[in-house]
């Protein structure tokens, strides 16, 4: 049965009135989205798959999310929205991604990522303008740009030239922008044709509050209403590289005078503005993408449980390994994302490295371990009906998570130059600050002024040597204890080896850092950071605590080291280190949890959410 919007709105009124915690908010949204398995639900898998085939968004999706008030979730509370912690906004959009990535992107994440520029760098007037635009139902879009590499769609060239009467004129074309034909506002990065944005901002080393200005670019916040009428050039949805299921286009300018008040941050400061905004936004979409991997894995487990013809049975070694590996990989990603996103609030000075690590690692890892599930489906792996189709759709969506290769290039640019310094000064044992690994502790407001382009320390990585030092105190015994201790020892040794190699790099020579060797070191860093995050979540997270708060009596899967050992094993494997020997109990524990969560309609990520809100009594 299709729910009417009146019913939806009535349900929302009660949901939003009561829920304030992250868990509560997500549960309220899940109830609002309805049972994903209901064929009559506009946001159920059947309707979403049909919309995907038509190349459009699920019917009624935008209205449903509007009725919930999802737009308010991406606008900071002081500006009239509900955004306080980025974790909540992200988890809500992850719930939407669990249904449909394109809907989540078009309705929310594209605007959130663009609005991060204004939240981090806007003047009070620019922030108020952005908040109003979003709360009025408008969308904001950003032109992601790789400044040194890309393709026809990812590289644009916008130039600013000083106008005789003051200010600038804008020329050229942007890269492809998702939502462009719909957007009510745009964030763009333009190059100063004369190489300098503003007198004193050029060449300053670090003297200004906004950090290092290279004077070459400026970031612009533009209203759609102010643009020349033909500035937006839609791109055909049939073109290779176009955004699937969302309208997209370029912006083109020909000597267009930029309105006053459009520059975000100081003129010429565009590179730093972009870096700092990306620092905030880049772990968010990968975290939402966990929702796609979640639904894909669930579809496969359900096909296995239903004993669909040709699908490998739960007793098959390959099926067990693929399911538990994919589950463990998802938890690895979620631990790193949890720490990276929380660090933006708790340790903004150091967050650049971890959010970059999350961007480099997460989507690639999710895509790969989800892809490995295809073989479980057996001879009908390429079929598109029912659960098979839902699996394939979410796998395809994972390959389309923005910003793709440009994002990796930008994240590597943040990561690689910092490795020599961090290797010389950090990566020694220290306990983490309170709350970094909690999935439920409230977060202080984001303070963009504290975001540094480069970190002075690495508190997250310090968890790994700290775990090694406190190995004997780890609350785990028997074969699990043995496995875990040897894993921590091996990973800490790998960190020492990485440190040695990074200290050997010429710290100040970009040409010597930007080499395959430097990138390989960066990848090993991301894997070790993920391992540190897993240890952090297990040692300092909510084990037990939030369960008690929730009044649930389950023993708590997250307390069992089975998931941690499996997660660290996946990291070890990727680092080329030997994994601990397979252990029947641990495989069973992981498999049983995955199966139970699928059977009961709970999410497979760290948060273990009841999908569709579960039974009405929940």
């Amino acid at each position: 049965m299709t729910r009417s919007s009146d019913q939806a709105e009535a349900a929302t009124a009660t949901a939003t009135a009561t829920a304030t915690t992250l868990r509560g908010r997500v549960a309220a949204l899940e109830r609002h989205l309805g049972d994903p398995r209901d064929p009559g639900n506009p946001l159920g898998h059947t309707a979403v798959l049909a919309a995907d085939r038509r190349g459009e968004l699920p019917l009624g999706g935008d209205r449903l999310l509007d009725a919930f008030g999802l737009r308010e979730e991406i606008v900071p509370q002081p500006l009239g929205g509900r955004l306080t912690g980025l974790d909540t906004a992200t988890q809500l959009l992850r719930a939407v991604f669990r249904r449909d990535f394109a809907l989540g992107r078009g309705h929310g994440s594209a605007s959130l990522v663009s609005a991060a520029f204004a939240w981090c760098h806007g003047t009070p007037a620019q922030q108020a303008r952005t908040a109003r635009l979003l709360l009025d139902g408008g969308r904001l879009s950003v032109a992601f740009q790789n400044m040194s590499y890309g393709n026809e769609f990812s590289s644009g060239d916008l130039t600013l030239t000083p106008a005789p009467q003051g200010g600038w004129v804008l020329d050229g074309r942007t890269p492809l922008i998702a939502n462009a034909p719909l957007a009510a506002g745009f964030v763009l990065l333009a190059r100063h044709a004369d190489g300098a944005g503003g007198g004193d901002s050029y060449g300053g080393s670090n003297g200004t509050g906004t950090g290092n200005s290279d004077g070459t670019h400026s970031a612009l916040l533009l209203n759609r209403a102010d643009l020349p009428p033909d500035a937006v050039r839609p791109v055909s949805p049939y073109r290779t590289g176009a955004v699937r299921r969302l309208p997209a286009g370029f912006l083109e300018f020909d000597r267009w005078p930029v309105p006053e008040g459009s520059v975000l941050g100081a003129p010429g400061d565009g590179t730093a503005v972009a870096l700092r905004s990306l620092q905030v936004s880049r772990p968010l979409v990968p975290s939402m993408a966990v929702g796609c991997a979640d639904t894909a894995l669930r579809s496969v487990v359900e096909a296995v449980l239903e004993r669909a013809p040709g699908v490998r049975p739960l007793t098959s070694r390959y099926a067990r390994r693929a399911i538990t590996s994919s589950f463990a990989d998802m938890l690895v990603c979620d631990c790193l994302l949890l720490a990276a996103i929380r660090s933006l609030h708790l340790l903004p000075e150091e967050s650049s490295v971890w959010t970059a690590a999350a961007m480099c690692l997460v989507v690639r890892m999710l895509q790969q371990s989800t892809g490995d599930l295809a073989a479980v489906l057996g001879p009908r792996a390429l079929q598109e009906e029912g659960g098979f189709g839902t699996f394939r759709k979410h796998l395809r969506d994972l390959s389309e998570i923005p910003p793709g290769p440009i994002g990796a290039a930008a994240a590597l640019a943040t990561l690689v130059p910092q490795l020599p310094f961090l290797a010389r000064t950090s990566w020694t044992a220290a306990p983490p600050p309170d709350g970094l690994f909690s999935a439920s502790a409230p977060l202080p407001p984001l303070d963009p002024a504290r975001l540094d382009l480069a970190a002075g320390g690495d508190t997250l990585m310090a968890v790994l040597p700290h775990a090694e030092e406190t190995l004997d105190a780890l609350p785990v015994t028997g074969p699990d204890g043995e496995a875990l201790r040897s894993q921590v020892g091996a990973l800490a040794a790998e960190l020492r080896a990485l440190g040695e190699e990074c200290r050997a790099l010429p710290a100040q020579d970009l040409a010597a850092l930007a080499t395959p060797h430097g990138y390989a070191l960066a990848e090993r860093y991301t894997l070790l950071a993920a391992a540190a995050a897993c240890l952090g979540v297990w040692m300092y997270g909510d084990r037990g605590r939030d369960r008690e708060e929730q009044g649930e009596e389950e023993s708590g899967f997250l307390s069992d080291p089975a998931w941690l050992i499996a997660a660290l094993g996946r990291v070890q494997f990727r680092l080329g280190l030997p994994e601990p020997a397979a252990d029947g109990r641990r495989v069973e524990a992981l498999l049983a949890e995955a199966v139970a969560r699928c059977a009961q309609g709970r999410s497979l990520d760290l948060y273990d959410v009841l999908l569709g809100g579960g039974p009405a009594t929940a």
């Binding site: 870096l275 130059p417 710290a507």
Partner: protein
């Protein structure tokens, strides 16, 4: 679409390379025009590399230990030869030191260059031939097999081909069937390798139209013979002069074919320069040292006495 070349047309025939110094111009051109390149070499050429042990060790990098652990001389030689071909080829197209490239494996076994995911790689060997696929479009899989290997009438078709493929083979003149079966088989290997699934993916779960000749492309089909709605896989098969069949599969990329990466442009250099200059390590006044400083930090302003010395 998977590649930047014309849709439905195979790229240039794979190029044989005999030594580290190339020539790599053909591979370079293929990368530029198609988004991917296929090269092959003989173990005889690449096995007798004449490299000193320490240089070979440097080139093998993280795999040096694995290499040393291979007991059989023949296998060890081929292992080194395949790594050298792959790293020199990748180094040539990336414009990078081959010794700086680290060949790693995903948990599913699919090889990749650690940290350089923009350049996808695939390796295959049979007999004394080594094949390498490089792609900056989607993930690539290559497979090489002797064209003369007798497979027709061995039961392979029943095990590994879909009903459609078996029927299509049945319409071919008998003399062409073995060759076509090798093409289909190598395409299946190449496709599963591009997916990273290897032999775990049942070969009857997907199929192809039979490539009409050497240097032809194929289309991906479902197990029932209907065309698979799976983006735009690029699938092609070539017969090499030495009597081998080399097939390649390039997966579609959602973001469109990217410009060809070079080692330096894998990261965004404009952003990296800004991060580097913001790094605390680049500020001389705050440069920390891992051990407590033994001397007092430098004072930023000249001592008053010195100031006083000048009028």
């Amino acid at each position: 679409m998977a590649t930047s070349g014309p849709r439905g047309l195979a790229g240039p025939a794979p190029v044989r390379v005999t030594a580290p110094d190339g020539p790599w111009t053909a591979a370079d051109a293929a990368m530029e025009e198609q988004g991917f390149a296929l090269v092959y070499g003989l173990t005889a050429d690449w096995g007798d590399h004449g490299l000193p042990d320490d240089e070979l060790g440097r080139l093998l990098g993280q795999e040096a230990q694995r290499y040393a652990g291979i007991r059989q001389e023949h296998t060890r030689r081929r292992f080194a030869a395949s790594r050298l071909l792959l790293k020199y080829a990748a180094g040539a197209v990336l414009d990078a030191d081959p010794g700086g490239l680290e060949l790693a494996r995903n948990p599913n076994g699919r090889p990749y260059l650690r940290g350089c995911g923009q350049l996808e790689v695939s390796l295959s060997h049979t007999g004394d031939i080594l094949a390498v696929g490089l792609s900056h479009a989607g993930p690539i899989g290559v497979d090489v097999e002797s064209s003369a290997r007798p497979v027709y009438g061995t039961g392979l078709a029943e095990e590994s081909f879909t009903a459609y493929e078996r029927a299509a083979l049945g319409w071919l003149p008998e003399a062409d069937r073995n060759t076509s079966m090798i093409r289909l088989w190598t395409l299946k290997e190449a496709y599963s390798k591009a997916l990273g699934l290897g032999l775990r993916l049942p070969f009857t779960s997907f199929g192809f139209t039979i490539p009409a000749a050497s240097g032809a492309t194929a289309r991906l089909l479902r197990s029932d013979g209907s065309p698979a709605d799976d983006g735009d896989w690029h699938l092609e098969s070539h017969t090499l002069p030495a009597g081998y069949t080399l097939s390649a599969a390039v997966a579609p990329t959602a973001f469109g074919p990217a410009r060809r990466p070079t080692a330096y442009s894998v990261l965004d250099t404009t952003l990296a320069a800004a991060v580097l200059s913001a790094s605390p390590g680049s500020r001389p006044d705050t440069h920390p040292s891992p051990t407590p400083a033994l001397t007092p930090p430098l004072t930023p302003t000249p001592a008053p006495a010195a100031q006083g010395a000048h009028p």
